[in-house]
């Protein structure tokens, strides 16, 4: 099992979700995040004081998948998150090993619980 963390642009959430549904990945956790990356930030000014700010709003997705779902999941996220032919700032996908999953309501564990 894998634990996939994807950082995407906020406005691509819906299209990523749509792509994920096509490959039958319907369970995921979404949270707000901010990111520093290759994407250039912007100058911010607070009352006559300048600050260079590079922190941009992002959406973070956490998706636990069984191994055979990993490829399609990654492909779906890529498809949904990419703007046109790909721009800096489109985001990244991280794949971490996942040792166990427990479904709280039923107590199921392992791949069945995902």
């Amino acid at each position: 099992m894998k634990y996939v963390i994807a950082i995407i642009r906020p406005e691509r959430l819906e299209s990523v979700k749509r792509e994920l549904q096509k490959v039958e990945v319907n369970r995921l956790t979404v949270s707000a995040a901010s990111g520093y990356g290759a994407q250039k930030g912007h100058l911010e000014v607070y009352r006559a004081l300048e600050l260079e700010v590079n922190l941009l709003e992002k959406i973070r997705l956490d998706i636990a998948v069984n191994d055979n779902f990993l490829e399609p999941t990654i492909a779906a996220i890529q498809k949904g998150a990419k703007t046109n032919s790909g721009h800096i700032g489109d985001g990244k996908i991280f794949v971490l090993p996942l040792e166990d999953v427990i479904r709280i309501s039923t107590g199921e564990t392992g791949s069945d619980a995902i």
Partner: protein, 397 residues
């Protein structure tokens, strides 16, 4: 004629209430956009308090209320020339009259901003409202209230035509001109904070008492009538919007109720001092349904009236202007009292205003497009206008 102290109090306090509608509008609109555009959206209202205010006292007032001709005033009062502490308009000091009318000039162009949030350059927005205030607002205001060719003809108690038809129809023109936001209809664009919109609704209704009841320009019976109609019409419109939404979708939303209230406020504006409270309720009920349908149209026709400036102000304003010709019964006679002529004048006034506002708005848009540009780049739209236009973000950890 001497000033009447109670009238002066009434007009000044009404003016303060109308100014308060600007933050109201900022919050009403600001809650509906995404987090990345909230300051940009709010600044559309706030900057109008700067730009339009100065424009008004420098030249707008004179163009609208200077003697001039059937079409427009003149420059006799530019820079408020010829007006001093003791100048009187009606029963109030002219300064008070200038302020009161100025509030309308400030809020009207700001209404249009709801049509173009998330995609207009800030500099172009400023140029747009400044030009629109001179080319569209000042003349139409002169026509209807300032001695122009509709003065004394068309019934427009507090600006159904002057404020809502002009701004609403210009919204439609400019949004078609500008095109959709990126991702419109594909990515979901949800209000980032509905409580802000509810706050805005509260501020707007509160301020609208100054807008409508203040338009009597005197502390008299007509002010009381305009006040009670401004109380019941939005209530009725909120309920009818809620009812139709509840029946169609199964859920009565807070945002829908708030929008209904706004529709009711818009519809009653031209009629406030001319109709009975019961007619106001009927007008409100109609407003909720018609504006609901108008907003649905957007989904069907696929244009991006982001915050429904046209759906509510345009459609609501036209509906109100026409219904005023139907229901007028206090100090004027509408269709229901057998006067079809008034209705005819109302329709005529609306049509002339629509044609004029659309043509001028498109010309302004075109000129700006060709000179300083109007729309932000796709990448700026992506990042959000708060960061790209204003160099700041609304919320920080």
């Amino acid at each position: 004629m001497a000033i009447v102290a109670a009238d002066l109090v009434w007009v000044l306090i009404s003016s303060a209430l109308i100014l308060f509608m600007l933050p109201g509008l900022a919050f009403f609109y600001g809650g509906m956009v995404r987090r990345k555009n909230v300051l940009s959206s709010m600044m559309h209202s706030f900057v109008a308090m700067g730009v339009m205010t100065i424009e008004w006292v420098v030249i707008g007032y004179s163009l609208a209320f200077g003697t001039g001709n059937w079409f427009i005033g003149d420059l006799e009062h530019a820079f408020l020339r010829g007006i001093d502490l003791y100048s009187v308009s009606g029963t109030i000091p002219t300064y008070a009259f200038v302020v009161f009318q100025g509030m309308f000039a400030v809020i009207t162009p700001a209404l249009i901003s709801g049509a173009i949030v998330g995609r207009a350059k800030f500099s172009s927005y400023i140029a747009f409202i400044a030009l629109w205030g001179l080319i569209v607002y000042a003349p139409v205001c002169h026509w209807v209230w300032g001695g122009g060719f509709l003065t004394g003809e068309a019934l427009d108690f507090a600006g159904g035509t002057v404020v809502h038809v002009t701004s609403g129809i210009s919204s439609l023109a400019i949004l078609v001109f500008l095109g959709k936001r990126k991702g419109y209809g594909i990515d979901s664009i949800k209000p980032h904070n509905v409580t802000l919109t509810l706050l805005g609704t509260g501020l707007l209704w509160f301020g609208w008492f100054g807008f409508n009841a203040g338009s009597s320009l005197a502390a008299n019976e007509v002010a009381s009538l305009a006040f009670i109609t401004t109380f019941v019409a939005p209530a009725a419109a909120g309920l009818s919007w809620m009812a139709i939404e509840w029946m169609s979708t199964g859920k009565p939303t807070a945002l829908g109720f708030a929008t209904g209230i706004l529709a009711g406020l818009v519809v009653i504006t031209p009629a406030a001092g001319f109709v009975t409270p019961m007619a106001a309720i009927v007008m409100g009920l109609i407003a909720g349904v018609i504006c609901y349908k108008a907003v649905m149209l957007k989904g069907k026709l696929g244009y991006d009236d982001s915050l429904d400036a046209f759906g509510v102000h345009g459609v609501g304003g036209i509906t109100g202007a026409i219904l005023t010709g139907v229901f007028a019964s206090v100090g004027a006679t509408g269709l229901l009292l057998g006067d079809s002529h008034q209705l005819f004048i109302q329709v005529e006034g609306v049509i002339i205003t629509i044609v004029y506002a659309v043509v001028c708005t498109l010309i302004i848009g075109f000129v700006l497009q060709k000179t300083i540009g109007f729309k932000v780049s796709e990448s700026e739209e992506n990042i959000g206008l708060d960061k790209t236009q204003h160099g700041e973000s609304a919320y920080n950890i």
